[in-house]
Symmetry: C2
Subunit: 189 residues, 2 copies
């Protein structure tokens, strides 16, 4: 698929440094055909971003449908996010590195989709505070801490490597969940 192959090319050489000719070779298409399918290089970049956001939002929707406590929801969100990072290393690399190359409407749409996902995480955190499961916390900052912990695995969590996504998701969830749990009275000095 053009999007997947191009994600690989961009991840290796960088978006700006990759020419249309290179994309044609990688996709085994002539210039005319490539432009017919993708419109422009930036549209291709936007499609890669959408691909990542689609997967991430599908995961978030699955989690919401499954229900459960805020702790369970947060753990499942972590599983789903690490699955995407693990399965789409090139797309995620391009997503995290090349988003400043999106312009105008495409940049605005990307920010909006990204923000939408962050709000899902924030809502789960807030729900946990409301039920008393989580201690009083800043949902926005805590979301950024959680996202950083998970997203940053794109640098070292390799498909086919020693660790599976679950091997990482479980201890990460344990750190995070204990970190935001409402302290028992004994902890609470």
């Amino acid at each position: 698929m053009i999007i997947d192959m191009s994600a690989k090319v961009f991840a290796r050489g960088g978006y700006h440094a990759t020419g249309i000719t290179e994309l044609c070779v990688a996709n085994d298409l002539g210039k005319g055909a490539l432009y017919h399918y993708i419109g422009s290089k930036e549209e291709l970049l936007a499609a890669i971003h959408d691909r990542v956001m689609d997967e991430v939002m599908f995961g978030a929707n699955r989690v919401a449908e499954r229900g459960g406590t805020p702790s369970q929801q947060l753990a499942m969100l972590g599983d789903e996010l690490l699955d995407v990072i693990h399965l789409y290393p090139d797309h995620v690399w391009v997503f995290l590195h090349e988003f400043p190359a999106l312009t105008g409407e495409r940049a605005a749409q990307f920010r909006e989709r990204r923000r939408m996902y962050e709000r899902r995480v924030e809502a789960v955190l807030q729900a946990g505070v409301d039920t008393g499961e989580f201690r009083e916390l800043d949902p926005r900052l805590t979301t950024m801490a959680w996202l950083g912990m998970h997203n940053y695995t794109y640098l070292w969590l390799k498909s086919g490597g020693r660790l599976s996504a679950r091997d990482v998701a479980k201890p990460f969830a344990e750190i995070f969940m204990r970190g935001i749990a409402t302290p028992t009275s004994k902890d609470d000095e």
Copy 2:
């Protein structure tokens, strides 16, 4: 300074897409003078990486000299790391995005320095496990969780923004420290 100005140029346009001519203009130097000072574009990239690693290791050394419990050490490491990210946004952007462009000896040196810092964090975690302050944990995975949480702030923690590095370091330390603390018997089911 050439390194700082070039970090800005690379952060904006990407390393591969930035030509020597652009670097000359930004630094207000002729080609001959630029090559005299920097040797090659890749040497400049290595110098930016070194700049970040120097600051990060200076911080880690300050923390080691100050002493304190493993919890205090880890909190101070977080303060120092966020200070670097907050003070050197362009350098850190280039550091995290363009390291694959380093080759040969320079790539090996970069990996070694990065690993050296990670080992500092791992050692503090292991010390906390040994003293019983931290629960049994995988020091390597826990280091990567900690690093991710802190490093990822480069995407949103802005110099001159609403939040200072300390505003972020404090709640992050609280999440992480509670997350790895040895549970009190009441928690320990």
